[in-house]
Amino acid sequence: MRLIAGVDIGNSTTEVCIGQIDEAQKLTFVSSTSCPTTGTKGTVANTHAIKSALKAAMSKIGKEISDLSLIRLNEAAPVIGDTAMETLTETIITDSSMIGHNPSTPAGVGQAVGEILRLDEQRKAEAGKAYIIAVPREYPYEAVAEITNRLAEKVDVVGMILQADEAVLVENRLTKKIPIVDEVARIDKLPGGVLAAIEVAPPGQTIRMLSNPYGIATLLKLNSEETRMITPIAKSLIGKRSAVVLKTPGGNVKENVLPAGEIYLKAEKEANINIDEGAVKIMEAVSEAGTIYDVIGQPDTNVGNMFAKIRTGMKTVNETTEEVHITDILAVDTMAPVLISGALAGETCLEKAVGIAAMVKTQQLPMQKIAERLKADLGVNVVVAGVEAVMASLGALTTPGVAVPLAILDMGGGSTDAALISKDGQVAITHQAGAGELVSMLIQTELGLSDRHVAEQIKKYPLAKVESLFHMRMENGQITFVEDSIDPRFYGRVVMLSESGLIRIEEDIPMEKIVQVRREAKQKVFVTNAIRALQKVAPDKDLKKIPNVVLVGGSAEDFEIPEMLMEEFAKYMIVCGRGNIRGKEGPRNAVATGLVLLSLD
């Protein structure tokens, strides 16, 4: 009786499968496990994850690693994926010239124009002029109301900007009702004596005057040239419930179009595409280019820097001096909320951006090195055997209900791979740039999340809104009641339903918006890539000639990606579904299972 381990090192997870072969050469699978990959795939740092995964799998059957007679490593696909994101436009506000945000409780309704007057400089007020009062946090609201009421007898007070969250409190004590914007953090940056326009929208609505260039022009009496310059401000105030715009001399708001640059495809059919033309044009060029030898970005431009970044990243992984060649890219259009520099209340502006996943083909990943290190550390025989995609196909064949010819779609973290086994056992393989990590990056940028980890979680878990301490509404509209009350920390928030309980999303983003961004990111990456990959391996590039597609890999476990692909492939009359390795593992463990199976002969 021998115990054999198959080990699959992926971009994000390392999977292990243990098989037992008895004297009659009968194979039974006894254990399997997975754990996060340590280090970049194909480097010696991977051994840590391998060891802990092996240990966990062996302890499940009450054995030690030393009881193994053989460990088989996959010949990892010689591709490494990386992603980069670059914004194509940027808005710069050199002087503080606007406030636009959504305080939870502004007060008053309407718009007004007046000169900014700091409360501590109220003596400077001249009779008969209109003023917007700026109040720092130190003043209690009773005092603010009292001073303002007295001031209003002498001058015209038309609006107020508060640092503290006290707009309603102040407004309730004013004799004359005016629009008040509160929770403005950097009130010290407001210049005194400058003409400004203030607007607070009625409940349930957003501002109308200050989000319209002509509205600003009307209020601040701008000429056509000034109106043109103020347009980016109006744009960035769209959808806000309260805003202040200052009339500052000179053009100090700029919307820059960055020199995005061109992508040069070195391929059978060479092409240069300007990145401004968008992802669709780029992908068209990529598909028409045939075999791609390398992709280069125009030097000293955004895209040039982006590819340089990917290249240096790859070089350190590769540990070789050989040239790094990017052999495939996936470009995706996106919008990124970018913090406006010089903002007074943390305002952001939606900027056009492009996300790119690139894939590098290396000569050979140093798998032999990993094998040697493992052998030395564990004292067990380790061999590198089996091409990853072939092993995955072999493993996928253990799914009940499949038959050759069969295509597998391995959707991992770094790349989307496809393999087609024909009736006579021939295997065609392709690797495409772009998979789970690109999806996480898109979610992170489009929602403006500070943490990639949160984006990963949003990708993985369905959402719910906690509507009371006793019930929550799932993203599909279903209502769930709980026996005991929900932790008040989750009250009124959007939460993710993970295996280990609720995780709250710190950012205040509506659930519908998160769902939309998440689904679009998955569509943009996985549906595009699945079709691209299958077209490459399909006979005569005709998808209709593929009867079966089995989805394997980490992203096949996702709660909505397989359904998206099934819908898409139904158009081509393809039977498509999530794999179920050995009838019980789900879409995971295909490669590791294939490796163990291979040791049978």
Binding site: S104, T105, Y141, D165, E166, A167, V168, L169, N172, E467, S468, L469, F470, S485, P488, R489, Y491, G492, R493, D508
Partner: protein, 111 residues
Amino acid sequence: MVVNKPSIYIYVNHPNENVLREICSGIEEEGVFYEIIERGEQDLNTLTWMAANDSMLGSGIGIKENSTAFIIRGLTMGKNLTYYAYPSNEESRVLGMNSARAIKKQAFKNM
């Protein structure tokens, strides 16, 4: 017919003035009504729970001397959402805001 105004009930027993004032400010800023009712010698948990039970909005605050707590109807007595023995002005203000936010179905502040 007697109809109670939809408001948050604040049941008090020798309340600290600062605490009471800041809590009221917090509720007012959120735009919700409140009523302050003096109750005899009772412990904080009972004051708080009774306030939530009697309030038409189901949100109640108790203040006994310096200590304060808030709860909403449906929770068991003593399972207060926030409790402070000696709250700062800031903490009292936020407690008031949160009792109002509970009604408006908005996420709590600083929780």
